[in-house]
C-alpha cells in the first residue's frame, strides 16, 4: 500500500502505466512507430524502452549482448552504497542477476523440478488445494474477496509445499514481498524488506541443511549440496517463494475479472475441458501482468532495429506492448480465448524464461474451471470502476482485491 510513510507517491513510470487491462496507449504508439526511447523512472535510471515483439525477443534472446549481471557489481539506483562483496552476497542465488555460465549452473539444478511430468505428479494435490479453498468460500457465503480467499492463498500454499516453506509463516512473507515489490515504498524500506526476507530464508535453509526434507529445498541440498553455497540456496529459495505467489495469484485475480467481462468466453472455459489450455495462453498474453523483465545492460555499443544503444546503457522490455504487437498475431487488442497463440513473451524469452511457467500454467488450468464450475453465476459486487482496486505500483500487475458474489445475494 502506498502512503504508509507519508512520502509523496512517485509518478508511475511509463512501462507500468495501464488502463485496467490495457497497457498505456503511448507504449502501443511507440511500438507501432518503431520508436525506442529513454524514459524516466522513479529510481533515477533512464532506461531505453523496447516495445516491439521482435525487438523484445531479440534482446531477451541474446544474453551476451544484453546482460542481467550488472546488478551484481553496482547498486540499483536509489540503493544504499555497498561493497562489491556485500552486493554479491545479497544477489547470490538470484538467477535473475546472473549471466551464463553461472546462470546455467544454477538453473540446471532446478529445471528437473519443474518439468511437465513433475507437474502432473503435483496435479492431484493442486486439485485438493483448489477445492478446499472453494469449499471455504462457499461455507463462508457470498460475498467474498476473490483475491484474499482464492487467488492469493491457492498459489501461496502450492509454492510453500513445493519448496518446503511453513505455510503458517505466510502473513509475514506475503507482507514482506508486497513491500519489496512496491515501487511507491521508499527504497530504504524495500531494502529492509529484502534483508528481512533473506534472514527468514537463512533460518529455513539452516534447518533444511541440518535435516533435508522431501520438498524442493531438501532435494537441492541432498542432490547438489556440494555444488551450491548456502548464500545461493537462500537466494534461490527467496526468489522462488516470491515468484511463486506474486504471479499466479495476480493472473487468477485479474484473469477472473477479464473472464467475467467476456461471458461467452467464460462459459467456454467453464464448460469445455479442451478450452482451458488455449485460454490460459491467451489470458497470459492479453494480461501480461509482468510489466517488464529485469533491467538489461548493453555489454557493447549496439543497435536495435536501427536505434543506437551505447555500451553500459540500461534497457527495459515492455512485455504487454510486445504481446499486443500485430506482428505476433492479428487483432491483438482483443481477448479471444479460442486462440492459444504461442510465442507470446508473458513468461519472458531466452535463458531467463520463467522457470515456474509449467507450474503456473498447471495451477491456472485447474483453478479457473474449478472456480467457474463451483460458482456458475459468479459476478463482481460493484460494477463501479471507481471501486476497482488495481495494483499499479507493484512490479507485477493485478488486483488488490476483487469483491465477488454468487447465488441469490445482491
Amino acid at each position: 500500500m502506498a502512503g504508509t510513510t507519508g512520502t509523496v507517491t512517485p509518478e508511475l513510470p511509463l512501462h507500468m502505466k495501464r488502463r485496467r487491462f490495457d497497457p498505456a496507449p503511448e507504449l502501443g504508439t511507440m511500438r507501432d512507430e518503431g520508436r525506442i526511447t529513454r524514459i524516466r523512472t522513479p529510481l533515477g535510471a533512464e532506461p531505453w524502452v523496447v516495445t516491439r515483439w521482435s525487438d523484445v525477443r531479440e534482446v531477451l534472446g541474446d544474453a551476451q549482448r544484453f546482460s542481467n549481471a550488472w546488478m551484481r557489481s553496482r547498486p540499483m539506483p536509489g540503493m544504499a552504497e555497498r561493497s562489491p562483496e556485500e552486493i554479491a552476497t545479497l544477489r547470490a542465488g538470484n538467477l535473475l542477476t546472473y549471466d551464463p555460465p553461472e546462470h546455467t549452473r544454477l538453473r540446471r539444478m532446478l529445471t528437473g523440478e519443474f518439468t511437465g511430468r513433475r507437474m502432473r505428479r503435483l496435479e492431484p494435490r493442486v486439485h485438493e488445494i483448489v477445492e478446499s479453498h472453494l469449499d471455504a468460500m462457499e461455507q463462508a457465503g457470498s460475498p467474498a474477496d476473490l483475491v484474499a480467499d482464492f487467488a492469493l492463498p491457492v498459489p501461496s500454499l502450492v509454492i510453500c509445499e513445493l519448496l518446503g516453506v511453513p505455510y503458517e509463516d505466510r502473513a509475514e512473507f506475503q507482507e514482506r514481498s508486497g513491500r519489496l515489490l512496491n515501487l511507491s515504498v521508499p527504497m530504504a524500506e524495500r531494502e529492509a524488506a529484502g534483508a528481512e526476507q533473506r534472514a527468514y530464508m537463512a533460518d529455513l535453509v539452516a534447518r533444511e541443511q541440518a535435516g533435508p526434507g522431501d520438498a524442493l529445498l531438501g532435494t537441492l541440498i541432498r542432490e547438489h549440496g556440494d555444488d551450491i553455497t548456502t548464500d545461493e540456496l537462500i537466494g534461490i529459495a527467496g526468489l522462488l517463494l516470491i515468484a511463486g505467489h506474486e504471479t499466479t495469484s495476480n493472473m487468477l485475480g485479474l484473469g477472473t475479472l477479464a473472464l467475467l467481462e467476456h461471458p461467452d468466453q467464460l462459459a467456454l472455459v467453464r464448460d469445455d475441458p479442451e478450452a482451458i489450455g488455449p485460454a490460459v495462453e491467451e489470458l497470459l498474453r492479453w494480461l501480461s501482468i509482468v510489466h517488464s523483465g529485469t533491467f538489461k545492460v548493453a555489454t557493447e555499443d549496439t543497435e536495435i532495429s536501427g536505434t543506437r544503444i551505447p555500451a553500459g546503457d540500461l534497457l527495459l522490455l515492455s512485455l504487454p506492448a510486445a504481446n499486443r504487437d500485430p506482428e505476433l498475431l492479428a487483432d491483438p487488442e482483443t481477448l479471444d480465448v479460442r486462440r492459444g497463440t504461442l510465442g507470446h513473451v508473458a513468461f519472458g524469452h531466452g535463458i531467463h524464461h520463467c522457470l515456474g511457467a509449467p507450474l503456473a500454467r498447471m495451477e491456472m488450468r485447474i483453478a479457473f474451471p474449478a472456480l467457474l464450475k463451483r460458482f456458475p453465476d459468479l459476478r463482481v459486487v460493484s460494477a463501479d470502476p471507481a471501486e476497482e482496486r488495481f495494483r499499479s505500483f507493484t512490479v507485477v500487475y493485478g488486483m488488490e482485491s476483487l469483491p465477488v458474489t454468487w447465488g441469490g445475494a445482491p
Binding site: R108, G112, E113, T115, F347, H353
Partner: protein, 62 residues
C-alpha cells in the same frame, strides 16, 4: 529434406516444446530436451515449437 536439431547444452528446460508437441519432444529427468525419434517429421507443430523455444536450443536444418 528438413532435419530437426536439439542442442542439449543450450536447453534451459522450459518445456515449451513438450507442451507444443509431446509426440516429438520430451524432457529427461533433469528437464533437458530429448527427441522421441532420431529423425522426426518436421511439420507445422514442430516448426511452431522451434520458433517458440525460449533458449534457441531447437533448430531446423533445411
Amino acid at each position: 529434406m528438413s532435419t530437426l536439431k536439439a542442442n542439449r547444452d543450450v536447453c534451459i528446460g522450459a518445456g515449451v516444446c513438450v507442451m507444443t508437441d509431446h509426440a516429438v519432444f520430451d524432457q529427461d529427468e533433469d528437464g533437458i530436451v530429448t527427441l522421441s525419434s532420431a529423425d522426426p517429421t518436421v511439420d507445422d507443430a514442430v516448426r511452431g515449437a522451434v520458433a517458440s523455444c525460449p533458449s534457441g536450443a531447437l533448430s531446423i536444418e533445411e
